[in-house]
């Protein structure tokens, strides 16, 4: 498997929320990167995880499958997943695959944080 062309930086917003800034290509090959970002953002205190797709350059079906696996892990920890920064193209892919029914999509970081931080 080729080395993933992606970076995922984690920012903590308060005690219970983390934002993962995704830049590059989301494919099945980036699973280790995503899971280590999840570990960095996770922990028992984190109940809300926001994925920032503003830097997303490419995604194939393997990438969507990897997001489903992330969703399962988050659900197991009773964590909510949200996303923002998706272009129209990628938003349609979330809708086509019906991933948007489990990962709430917001227009920007402010609304994503507001939407999940009640």
């Amino acid at each position: 498997m080729n080395a993933p062309a992606i970076t995922m930086d984690v920012r903590r917003i308060g005690e219970t929320t983390a934002v993962v800034d995704i830049r590059g290509e989301v494919t099945a090959a980036c699973e280790p990167v995503l899971m280590s970002a999840y570990e960095a953002a996770g922990g028992t205190a984190t109940s809300r995880l926001v994925l920032n797709f503003g830097g997303l350059e490419y995604m194939n079906s393997g990438g969507i499958g990897m997001l489903v696996t992330l969703l399962v892990r988050a659900n197991r920890q009773r964590q909510q997943l949200a996303a923002y920064g998706l272009s129209e193209h990628y938003r349609e892919i979330f809708e086509l695959t019906r991933l948007d029914e489990a990962i709430t999509i917001y227009d920007n970081e402010e609304s994503a944080l507001h939407g999940v931080v009640r």
Partner: protein, 284 residues
């Protein structure tokens, strides 16, 4: 829920020669990717299907074609049963590139299916947005009629997604990649049984049948690619052992139940049509 007696067509030397020519062809979607890049779109834009709310499909010869039109797509999020990731891998050797393997697979997909099962797709092969109708052998002379949607297709992979009523909710990704000197070809299923009935059926032998089905498919592909003795490795992982009871009502769309009812009622429907025809001739 399928039978796996082997492929409908056995690969001959001529077929292997044909696959070599097919394999020498350029990847099918290089030009659309270039065009997308020039238009400022992501380079994956030509590989994804356009968004659809409900499936639309016309008549295809050789299959019953029921339980697909009007159905919504279902991913693992919408399924009922435990979530499984099942991977079937085959070493395709050093002579075949990933692009060649996928080009052959996409162009001849139905031919690699085990005997007794029908895949009626578009004549042009596997392309994003296509809907294929399936008749799957489930024993007792009954065919399970369902379908799949081509969610994604590029030069090195393609993905099929299932509609409501299919045995499982999820997708199957067929891909090939270079690992050192050899090319590895794989089919990977990410799925949940669509409803409680299917979950029981999968537990009582359905998973085993599915494993045999994809192993037979990969073996047929391997022979077409010229491999003398294709070996398929199977790995199953339970990703989520929880069942999603909120989706238990998916059973309403169950294509297996509907297919059985459609098979039983077919003679009555035929007689009814015949009677109507005779009545209209008498009255006319």
């Amino acid at each position: 829920m399928t039978e796996t007696a082997g492929p409908d067509k056995v690969a001959t030397a001529d077929q292997i020669g044909l696959s070599a020519r097919e394999a020498a062809a350029p990847p099918p979607d290089t030009a659309p990717s270039r065009a997308a890049a020039q238009a400022g779109l992501p380079r994956d834009s030509a590989s994804w299907a356009r968004k659809v709310d409900r499936l639309e499909v016309g008549h295809r010869s050789g299959v019953r074609g029921t339980n697909v039109a009007g159905r919504r797509l279902t991913g693992p999020v919408q399924g009922f049963g435990k979530m499984w990731q099942k991977t079937y891998r085959m070493d395709a050797g050093s002579q075949i590139t990933p692009e060649q393997a996928i080009a052959t697979w996409r162009a001849n997909f139905p031919e690699f299916w085990p005997k007794g099962n029908r895949f009626a797709g578009a004549l042009t092969g596997i392309n994003p947005g296509d809907v294929a109708l399936l008749d799957l052998s489930i024993g007792g002379g009954v065919k399970l009629s369902t379908g799949v949607f081509v969610l994604y297709a590029d030069a090195e992979s393609f993905t099929l997604m299932t509609p409501q009523g299919h045995m499982f909710a999820g997708w199957i990704t067929f891909s090939a990649e270079r690992e050192g000197d050899t090319t590895t070809v794989q089919a990977q299923v990410l799925m949940r049984a669509n409803d409680p009935l299917y979950e029981i059926a999968m537990t009582l032998g359905g998973h085993r049948k599915e494993d045999k089905f994809w192993a037979a498919t990969l073996t047929a592909l391997g022979r077409r690619l010229g491999l003398p003795d294709p070996k398929v490795e199977t790995r199953s992982t339970c990703v989520d052992s929880k069942r999603q009871w909120r989706h238990s009502r998916n059973v309403w769309h169950n294509s297996m139940v509907r297919s059985v009812l459609q098979t039983i009622s077919a003679p009555l429907v035929g007689l009814s049509r015949l009677a109507r025809g005779m009545n209209s001739r008498t009255n006319g």
